[in-house]
C-alpha cells in the first residue's frame, strides 16, 4: 500500500494542441478509493495512464509511496490495473492469466498457487480455471481481469472503466462486489469512470474532471449537494441539477421566472451594494415540492410531461418559460397541462455566478 502524489501534470498528445491534462495535482491517501469522473475527453484516462506509466507527462511529477515514478516504465512501478477492454490474454488459460503478474515477479510456486486459488474463489472463477478466455462470458472475463489485478498485492490498484462493457444488471451486481473486494484488500485505488452513479457509490473521494482539469474534488455527497460550479452540478445526478436564470434585487428579493421570493442573506448584501445581481439558481429535482397553485411561497408553473419511473415520478415543468425537472413521489397524481405551485427547499438551493459559472457561497 502506498499513497499517490500527483503534481502539476501537463500532457499534450502528439498532433493535438489541446492539453489532455492541464496542470493536474491530486493526492490520493494510502488505502483511499479515489474516483476520476468526467465526460469523455476530459483527461481522466490520460491521467490514469500516466500514473500507470503507459504515457509520460510533458511536465509535472508522480510519486507512489514517496518514490518518484514519473518516467519509470510500468513494470517498475509495482502496480496492477484492470483495463476497460479487460486485456485478458486470449492464449492463456484463466489460471495462467491470473498468475501472470506473479510469474513475472518470480513468486514461488506454492505461494502462487495459493494466491490464484484465493482470487479465483473470491471472484467465483474456480470452475473456470482451466478454460480459455474465448470460452467465457463477458462478465467472467471481467472477473478474470480483476482477479489478475488483485493477486498482485501491488502498491496501487488502477481501474479504467472496468464496468463499462457489462450489461446493466451485471454492472449493478459487480459494482457492489467490487466495493467489497477493494474494501477487503484495503489497497489504494484510482478508478476512472464516466458513470456518476459508479463514482458516487464506490468512492471515498471523487475528482470531477473537465477539459483536463479537476473541477471539484471531495466526498461524493459533498460534490452532489454542493457542486463547485455549474458543470459539476449538471454532470452529477440523474436527472442533472436544474438551472434557472434569476436575479437578486437591490431590495433583497430573488426573482425567478417573473416571480419573487426571499433571497439568502449573503446574496442580498452583495446585491444591495451592487444594485442588483444576476444569478444562476441551481436546484435538484428531488428538492422541489409540488403544491396547489397559489399557496404562499410557491412559484406558479405548468406540468408538461409526466414520466412515472416506478420508485418516483419525474415531471417536466414549465416555469415562466424555463423548463425544469421535478421529482415527486410515485403516489402523486398529476396530469400534463395541470397548473401547479412549486416550493423550493430553501436549504438545497445553490447559486452560481452567471459569468464564471462558479458556485456562490456565503
Amino acid at each position: 500500500m502506498a499513497d499517490i502524489s500527483i503534481k502539476g501534470l501537463k500532457k499534450t498528445y502528439p498532433g493535438s494542441t489541446e492539453l489532455a491534462t492541464n496542470n493536474v495535482s491530486l493526492d490520493v491517501a494510502e488505502g483511499e478509493f479515489m474516483v476520476l469522473l468526467g465526460p469523455s475527453g476530459c483527461g481522466k484516462t490520460t491521467l490514469l495512464r500516466m500514473v500507470a506509466g503507459l504515457d509520460f507527462p510533458d511536465e509535472g511529477s508522480i510519486s507512489i509511496g514517496g518514490r518518484d515514478v514519473t518516467y519509470l516504465p510500468p513494470q517498475d512501478r509495482n502496480l496492477s490495473m484492470v483495463f476497460q477492454s479487460y486485456a485478458v490474454f486470449p492464449h492463456r488459460k484463466v489460471r495462467t492469466n491470473i498468475a501472470f503478474g506473479l510469474v513475472m515477479k518470480k513468486v514461488p510456486r506454492d505461494e502462487l498457487e495459493k494466491k490464484v486459488a484465493w482470487a479465483a474463489d473470491l471472484l467465483q472463477l474456480t470452475p473456470y480455471l482451466d478454460r480459455y478466455p474465448a470460452q467465457l462470458s463477458g462478465g467472467q472475463r471481467q472477473r478474470v481481469a480483476v482477479a489478475r489485478a488483485i493477486v498482485m498485492d501491488a502498491d496501487v490498484l488502477l481501474m479504467d472503466e472496468p464496468l463499462s462493457n457489462l450489461d446493466a444488471l451485471l454492472r449493478l451486481d459487480f459494482r457492489a462486489e467490487l466495493k467489497k473486494i477493494v474494501q477487503q484488500l484495503g489497497s489504494t485505488t484510482l478508478y476512472v469512470t464516466h458513470d456518476q452513479v459508479e463514482a458516487m457509490s464506490l468512492s471515498d473521494r471523487v475528482a470531477v474532471m473537465k477539459k483536463g482539469q479537476i473541477a471539484q474534488l471531495g466526498h461524493p455527497i459533498t460534490v452532489y449537494e454542493e457542486p463547485a460550479d455549474r458543470f459539476v452540478g449538471g454532470f452529477i445526478g440523474s436527472p442533472p441539477m436544474n438551472f434557472l436564470e434569476g436575479r437578486v434585487t437591490q431590495q433583497g428579493a430573488l426573482e425567478v421566472a417573473g416571480q419573487s421570493t426571499k433571497a439568502p442573506e449573503f446574496l442580498a448584501h452583495s446585491a444591495a451594494r451592487s444594485g442588483g445581481l444576476p444569478v444562476m439558481v441551481g436546484i435538484r429535482a428531488e428538492n422541489i415540492y409540488l403544491e396547489d397553485r397559489g399557496t404562499p411561497g410557491t412559484l406558479d408553473a405548468t406540468v408538461e410531461v409526466v414520466e412515472p419511473l416506478g420508485h418516483a415520478t419525474l415531471l417536466t415543468v414549465d416555469l415562466g418559460g424555463q423548463t425544469i425537472k421535478v421529482q415527486v413521489a410515485s403516489t402523486v397524481r398529476v396530469s400534463p397541462g395541470e397548473k401547479v405551485g412549486l416550493r423550493f427547499d430553501q436549504s438545497a438551493i445553490r447559486f452560481f455566478d452567471t459569468e464564471t459559472q462558479l458556485g456562490l457561497t456565503a
Binding site: F83, P90, R92, Y132
Partner: protein, 272 residues
Amino acid sequence: MLLIAPSIVFMTLLFGWPMVSGILQAFGGPEGLTTANFTRMGQDPYFWSSVGNTLLLIVVMIPIQFVLALAMALLIRAKPRGSSVYFYIWAIPLAVSDLAAGLVWLTVFTDRGYLNSVLASVGLEPVSWLAYDNYASMFMAVLIAEVWRATSLVFVIVVAGLQSIPKDYEEAAGVFGAGFWDRLWHVTLPLLRPSLQTALILRTILAFQTFAVALALTGQNFPLVVGETYRWYTGLQDANVASALALVVMAVSMVTAVGYLKLLKDQSEAPR
C-alpha cells in the same frame, strides 16, 4: 450448384486437369504406368545433392528470415522517425523477381564483382566466391541473396499481424511487471502465432521452389530440386522425370504445410 458451377469448371480446367495430367506424366512411360521415372530421378548424380542443398538452405535460411523479419516489424511498430519510409524500403524486394535478384547479387559476388573490387581496393586478394570448389562461399552467396529477396514477404505478413494485436495486451503485460523480452515471449509471439504460421507455411513452400537465384549465381554448381526439374525438362528433354521431380516437391510441400498446421495448433480456440 448452378452458382458455383463456373468456378468448378475453371478449377477443373486450370487446376485439376493439369495436376492429373502431371501425375500421369510422372508415372508415364512407353509401356504404360511405371515407376521408372522415379528410379531414374533417384539415380541421377545431381538429385541427392540438390535435395541436400535445398534442405540445408531451408534449415539455415528460415530462422534467419524470421528473426530478421520480426526485428524489422518490431522496429517499425516502435514508430521511429521515418518508419513508413523504412516499411516501403524493406518491402521493395517483394517486387523484385527472383531472377533479377539473382543477377543483382551476381554483380556483387562474381569474380570481378563489387565485393572483390572492394577487397582489392583495401589490398586484399580477391576470392572466387562462386567457384565450384568453394562450397561454403557459394552457399553463403545464395543464402544472402535469398534472405535479401524473400525476408520482405515474412516481414509484410508479420507487420500485418502485429497491427491486428490490440496494444492493450502488451500494456497489460507491462503493468503486471513484464519487461521487453517477457512481453515478446509471453504475449506478442503467442498472439502473433496465426501470422507466423501463415508466413512459415508460405515461406517454406516457396523455399522448396528456390531456383532462379541459385541458377543466376552458380549455374549448375549449387543444384536445387526445382532447378533439377528445370534441367530435366529443358536440358535433358525428359518431361516424365521432370514431372516426377515436381510431384516430389509438391508432396513434400503438402506434408510440411500439414505438419506446421498440426505443430502450431492453437488450443485457445478449442470448442467448449
